[in-house]
């Protein structure tokens, strides 16, 4: 009889005890803030008891993953003070002793380790599922071996140099061809009548055949 009364008292008192463990601004508790509509917009789901159960299960999973020796259960995660926001406080009790709270630092370690998994369970991100006091993990910067801009630069400068060389070579070839062509019919040019247009003065002059450099042929 006495045992039954004690059992009944214990069952009645346990939730009350749990409530006293979890309080706003508890020294070993964390506040969680969730913004589902911001994250998902039209596809937002409603926050209800089932979601809360998932949260407690996920937290137990995170604690198990971090402290592999101890088996945490959903009962070890106590939640209180839920608001419309959605925000609430939670504390973690030890599996061995349900009145003992796990220190804040240990909880933080577990959360940081499994942050990615916790976020994904709720389709949220570090910004929309906030653990107030635990800093979000910074995204690893993607450091490619060669900076991308160097690749673009390499392509551009290669094309430009190829173009320069091509143009220079073709200019050279053109000049050589012209020289060859000129040497063949150079005799005709001396008789050519050239209309000189120089310095803006239109000169109707006959090319002065006397003014040529033909000292090579005549010795005066």
């Amino acid at each position: 009889m006495l045992v039954r009364i004690l059992v009944l008292l214990y069952l009645a008192g346990a939730p009350a005890l749990a409530q006293t463990l979890c309080q706003p601004n508890a020294s070993n508790g964390y506040r969680v803030r969730i913004s589902i509509k911001t994250a998902l917009g039209n596809q937002a789901y409603e926050w209800n008891e089932n979601e809360m159960f998932l949260f407690r299960a996920t937290m137990a999973f995170a604690m198990r993953r971090c402290y592999k020796t101890e088996t945490y259960n959903v009962d070890n995660i106590i939640v209180c003070n839920q608001t419309l926001r959605v925000s609430f406080w939670f504390v973690v009790t030890s599996p061995e002793n349900s009145t003992m709270l796990i220190p804040k630092a240990d909880v933080e370690k577990a959360v940081s380790m499994s942050r990615h998994r916790i976020n994904n369970a709720f389709l949220l991100t570090d910004r929309t599922l906030e653990f107030l006091g635990i800093h979000p993990t910074l995204a690893e910067p993607v450091n490619p071996d060669t900076p991308p801009w160097l690749i673009v630069f390499g392509v551009v400068i290669g094309a430009v140099f190829a173009g320069i060389i091509a143009l220079l070579v073709s200019s050279l070839l053109q000049k050589r061809r012209k020289e060859k062509g000129m040497m063949e019919d150079g005799q005709d040019e001396e008789d050519m009548q050239v209309k000189g247009v120089e310095n803006g003065n239109v000169l109707d002059g006959i090319y002065n055949r006397g003014f040529t450099d033909d000292d090579r042929f005549t010795k005066l």
Binding site: R85, L138, I157, V160, S171, M182, M183, G186, N199
Partner: protein, 613 residues
């Protein structure tokens, strides 16, 4: 045989009229059309600014443009040869043009190098200026970036690596040197065969910006907030016309925008045939230049309106989050639309808690008022706007290719103003092919421009921009117009124009050349110098240790820098009196022969030939 070849070597010619026009338009339409004119429109009361701008175009811009194109076409020489022909005492004007063109091409191509750097970096996901990099031990973001913005950090630190003041020179930034080398290589490849290759290049560089502007226009008009930007731009504030500063800025904007007095336009038109209607060309180029400015300001302002809207919404969302968290209101109950009502009701019931939140005042007008011009517009404001647009890489690439084309086509004119006079002065040794000479000039320019790749390079660039690219040009233009109108003679000039275009210039042109334009130039010059002289010159320095960082620290120029500024303004124009004095001395000391003016042997004037037998 070899001398025969050099006689029949003709002056290069444009392949067709379109190439010539596109080159002139490309030279006139530059970066200033995109990042200076919209800024002026914004600060000077939108639509009202168009009035002084168009008046300056008609009475100052077009006459100068027509004058330069005409004398280049008639006298068929670069700037030095042209002014030597008009009057030997004014040969210094050509030298001044060449020096100014050289100095401007130095810093202008550095800006093109910056554009290239941003272009190369636009091919990444995410864009490097959209987020802060992590610091050494990966615990947080770089402090300088957090205090300012990622866009500012990328520009000042990762691009320029700017020093806190001008005295600290810093070292050469290798990535900047690499970009500068690319820019000069691209300029060289376009110049290899002179106007033959330039003429091909301008088909792309002169037309591509218009395509990109149209794409941006269509895109920008579909973005939220664009209409606010456009209304803000074009709402005229007629009161502003009473401010003389507006008229001064309109006149200087038109003057610098048309790229007169550089000598480049004279060079380009010297490759024309003489029977070409340069009057129509001048009016076309001038009108297209101004129309481009106005057309460019529309997408720019639509996008700036979008950016202001985005900043406004971000500011409001910050406040909404603060209120939601403080009062535990359900997520997304407070929205941008009903923010006012919520704020009023919450402030009424819990004023102390609300005031403790330190909410920011978000005013769309304040965000619209944040104006920027020049490199600030392109590399800070616009890049920030691009991040918020979906598909940012595409827009960034398009924008920077457009800026690159604008800069490159202006570089053609700048460098042409250096090369053609040197060719005409016969300073090029006979054995040196043109390609080698051009390469040499490009190499020398690249080496000198390495100054701008140092840590303090941006400060030096601002100095060059303010002191070389302003007062000397005004002085040169004034002497140009005086030389043609009064020394060459308006009668002789009208005869030349009749020969070229088929009709004499009408009274409007004559009045402008004789009276209005010189007067306007003198007034603008005096006013400009007076305004500059009033304020002790200062510069904004980016100093992370500054108390009010991220605001720029306003520092005065050190004395030695100020001396350099004065030198930069005066050395180009000092050649005008120097050459005049030199010629005067030569003239007075020894009158050998009349053809002292034509020193080079002219085989068609055979007086010099003496038969020795």
């Amino acid at each position: 045989m070899t001398t025969l070849k050099s006689h029949t070597e003709e002056r290069p010619k444009w392949n067709n009229k379109a190439e010539y026009l596109l080159t002139c338009i490309g030279f006139a339409v530059g970066l200033g059309n995109v990042w200076r004119f919209p800024y002026l429109c914004q600060i000077y009361g939108g639509g009202a600014f168009l009035i002084p701008y168009l008046i300056a175009l008609v009475f100052q811009g077009l006459p100068l443009l027509y004058l330069e194109l005409a004398i280049g076409q008639r006298l068929r020489m670069g700037s030095i040869g042209v002014w030597n022909s008009i009057s030997p005492y004014l040969g210094g004007v050509g030298v001044a043009s060449m020096v100014v063109s050289f100095c401007v091409s130095l810093f202008y191509n550095t800006i093109v190098a910056w554009v290239l750097w941003y272009l190369f970096n636009s091919f990444q996901e995410p864009l490097p200026w959209s987020q802060c990099p992590l610091n050494h031990n990966n615990t947080g973001y770089v402090e300088e970036c957090v205090e300012s913005t990622p866009v500012n950090y990328f520009w000042y630190r990762q691009t320029l690596n700017i020093t806190p003041n001008m005295e600290t020179s810093g070292s050469l930034q290798w990535w900047m040197v690499v970009s500068l080398a690319t820019a000069w290589s691209i300029v060289y490849i376009c110049f290899i065969r002179g106007i033959e290759t330039i003429g091909k290049a301008v088909y792309v560089t002169a037309t591509f910006p218009y395509l990109v502007l149209t794409i941006f226009l269509v895109r920008a008009l579909t973005l939220p907030g664009s209409s606010e930007g456009l209304i803000y731009l074009f709402t005229p504030d007629w009161e502003i016309l009473k401010n003389p500063q507006v008229w001064l800025d309109a006149a200087t904007q038109i003057f610098f925008s048309l790229s007169v007095a550089f000598g480049g336009l004279i060079s380009f038109s010297s490759y024309n045939s003489q029977k070409n209607n340069c009057e129509r060309d001048a009016v076309l180029v001038g009108v297209i230049n101004s129309a481009t400015s106005i057309y460019a300001s529309i997408p720019i302002f639509a996008i700036l309106g979008f950016k202001a809207h985005t900043n406004y919404v971000t500011c409001l969302n910050g406040n909404i989050l603060a209120l939601t968290n403080e009062f535990d209101i359900s997520d997304m109950n407070i929205t941008v639309e009903n923010y006012e009502q919520w704020f009023d009701s919450l402030n009424g019931t819990h004023p102390s808690r609300v005031s403790n939140l330190n909410l920011k005042t978000c005013d769309l007008q304040t965000f619209l008022d944040q104006s920027a011009s020049g490199t600030g517009l392109a590399f800070i404001v616009f890049t920030e706007a691009v991040i918020s647009m979906p598909g940012s890489q595409v827009w960034a690439v398009l924008f920077f290719i457009m800026l690159f084309s604008l800069g490159l086509s202006s570089m053609f004119g700048n460098l042409e103003g250096v090369l053609t006079p040197l060719h005409d002065l016969k300073l090029v040794p006979k054995w040196m092919p043109n390609e080698l000479f051009t390469a040499l000039i490009c190499l020398v320019s690249f080496l000198v421009a390495l100054i701008f790749t140092m840590g303090s390079g941006n400060y030096w660039l601002e100095i060059f921009n303010s002191y070389v690219g302003s007062v000397p040009l005004l002085i040169i233009a004034f002497f140009e117009i005086i030389a043609v109108a009064y020394i060459y003679g308006i009668g002789r000039f009208s005869d030349d124009l009749e020969f070229m275009t088929g009709h004499r210039p009408n009274i409007f042109w004559k009045v402008c050349w004789l009276v209005i334009s010189p007067l306007m130039l003198i007034v603008v010059l005096v006013a400009y110098v007076a305004v500059q002289a009033q304020t002790h010159p200062t510069y904004p320095a980016w100093n992370p240790d500054y108390v009010n960082f991220p605001d720029t620290e306003v520092l005065p120029y050190p004395d030695w820098v100020f001396a350099i500024c004065v030198l930069l303004s005066s050395v180009p124009v000092i050649s005008i009196p120097l050459v005049a004095i030199y010629r005067l001395i030569c003239c007075m000391s020894g009158r050998h022969s009349e053809d002292r003016l034509h020193n080079d042997p002219n085989p068609y004037a055979n007086e010099g030939y003496v038969v020795e037998s």
